[in-house]
């Protein structure tokens, strides 16, 4: 049996994943109780659960893809553990590739030496631990500062609202800008015709769904509008790739056909 997919490794995965699920349940229950005390309706809280669950499906499939890509070299269990806790799509690939490079190997070759496997596990882990040290130290202080600023601004609540919206927009803007003119290190998903067409479809479908919800008073559709727009945009990317000539779909700012 391949040591990378031994019962021991599956046991390790169960331990780590069990921890994450129990922590999530703990915070959900705590927040739910507080939400009810604050007067949030059961419907609002249920909608939050349903829309968040639906929203998570497509990105989770994308994360699963990374698990499967890494599985060819690392076995399926270690990437599974890493991407269930703290890990992210980009980091795990870069970290494991860097370690394997040092050892004269690469992600395209399956690891056969436990020593290489252990080394990759260390690099993947140590690279991501820093945030877990920073959060317990600084989280409370940052929230105190934010709370202080907001309470001061409640006299001029418009300012607080505008700045809060501006902060969200600042984050979203980075991804929109990348879809318009970004380049990825491996060249997959570079900005060009397909990224802009997907982005525009998502925006337009969102507008249309929101309009439909308003005009027809479809309150039950509202929580699904955003994930639905995302799925339709993803579907559009598939269809465009099928029906348009390669010359058009392969167009990027760095690969002008």
């Amino acid at each position: 049996m391949d040591f990378k997919e031994s019962p021991f490794m599956y046991g390790l995965a169960a331990f780590v994943i069990g921890f994450v699920v129990i922590e999530s349940v703990f915070f959900i229950v705590k927040a739910w109780k507080r939400g009810r005390q604050l007067g949030l309706t059961k419907e609002t809280l249920k909608n939050t659960v349903v829309s968040s669950a639906v929203f998570s499906v497509a990105p989770a499939l994308s994360i699963l893809t990374t698990v499967i890509v890494l599985a060819s070299a690392l076995g399926i269990v270690l990437p599974w553990i890493r991407l269930s806790v703290i890990g992210n799509l980009a980091y795990e690939t870069v970290a494991s590739e860097s370690m394997l490079e040092v050892m004269g190997s690469s992600l395209s070759t399956p690891i056969t030496e436990p020593k290489q496997f252990g080394a990759v596990a260390w690099v993947m882990t140590l690279g991501t631990t820093f945030a877990l040290i920073l959060v317990p130290i600084f989280c409370k202080g940052i929230h105190k500062k934010v709370g202080h600023v907001v309470s001061k601004n409640e006299k001029t609540s418009k300012m607080a609202d505008v700045l809060s919206a501006a902060a969200f927009i600042g984050i979203i803007a980075a991804f929109i800008a990348r879809a318009i003119y970004g380049k990825t290190p491996d060249g997959v998903g570079d900005a060009g015709f397909m990224s802009i067409a997907t982005l525009v479809t998502a925006v337009v479908v969102s507008f249309l769904l929101e309009l439909l919800c308003e005009k027809r008073d479809l309150k039950k559709l509202q929580p699904f509008a955003m994930p639905l727009a995302m799925f339709i945009a993803m579907g559009t990317a598939v269809v465009l790739n099928l029906v348009l000539p390669d010359k058009v779909t392969a167009f990027t700012w760095w690969n002008q056909m």
Binding site: L12, I17, E23, F27, A31, W32, L40, T44, L45, T48, S52, S56, P59, A60, L61, S62, L64, T65, V67, I68, I76, W80, L83, N88, P114, G118, A119, A121, W122, V123, T125, T128, A131, L132, I133, L134, V135, H143, K144, V162, A165, A166, F168, I169, G170, I171, A173, F175, I176, R178, G182, M194, L199, T201, V205, S206, E210, G235, V238, N241
Partner: protein, 224 residues
């Protein structure tokens, strides 16, 4: 001293207490994985090799960690922050998921209601993601490999998942606050024009500063 303590509600105090315990617990669980692998297979790596690999990735990822903690903590709420940093995939999943939930519930992120909604959203997202990955790993891995293969018909759906996700999420904000949105997007594009492969963690910091700075300026000029 007593006055300072009154500033934070007992709920927030208990969330921070629990969050610190869970996060330190997670740190222990996380570190136990390579330790257990090395003990079980008697395969301790050469520390020199590990160091050589770490030196390439640490400056980027530890730097990104500082920016992420400063950027996301005020937006995700206390419970949401502790959960999101343990469960990972913040930028591509937890943060947009929480933003969507706040928008749906029509609550402000900095309010206690926002704290509750954001925490539930991130918790549910973490459980759903864990379940999907577990089911996928155990049952569908051969099938999914074909689905996401670069030659698969469905590959473009996954390649362009981020424009789809942030386009759909950004639409609501674009509609309500289009004046605020134009400047940071423009700044992002200009920065990418000079440095197209700039890491998204750094780009977020730039567009965030541009967005908040732009909003201040527009308020001063009474454009909004």
């Amino acid at each position: 001293m007593a006055k300072q303590k009154e500033k934070m509600s007992p709920y927030y105090e208990s969330v921070h207490r629990a969050g610190r315990v869970w996060t330190l617990g997670a740190l222990g669980v996380l570190l136990s994985v390579p330790v257990a692998i090395c003990l079980r297979f008697n395969a301790w790596p050469e520390m020199n090799d590990v160091f050589k690999a770490l030196i390439k990735v640490l400056p980027i990822y530890w730097g990104t960690a500082v920016v992420e903690v400063l950027t996301y903590t005020p937006m995700l709420g206390a419970g949401g922050t502790y959960l999101a940093f343990v469960t990972g995939n913040i930028t591509n999943l937890k943060m947009p998921c929480a933003l969507n939930a706040l928008e749906n519930a029509k609550v402000r992120a900095s309010s206690e209601e926002g704290e509750v909604v954001s925490t539930i959203s991130i918790g549910v997202s973490a459980i759903v993601t864990t379940l999907i990955i577990a089911i996928g790993v155990l049952a569908f891995s051969p099938f999914l490999g074909k689905l996401t293969d670069p030659d698969s018909v469905f590959a473009p759906a996954f390649t362009y998942i981020l424009p789809a996700l942030f386009g759909a999420l950004g639409a609501g904000y674009l509609k309500k606050h289009w004046r605020l949105a134009v400047f940071p997007v423009l700044v992002g594009v200009v920065v990418l024009f000079f440095s197209p492969t700039l890491a998204v963690g750094t780009l977020i910091f730039v567009t965030l500063v541009a967005s908040i700075g732009g909003a201040f300026a527009m308020m001063k000029l009474k454009w909004i």
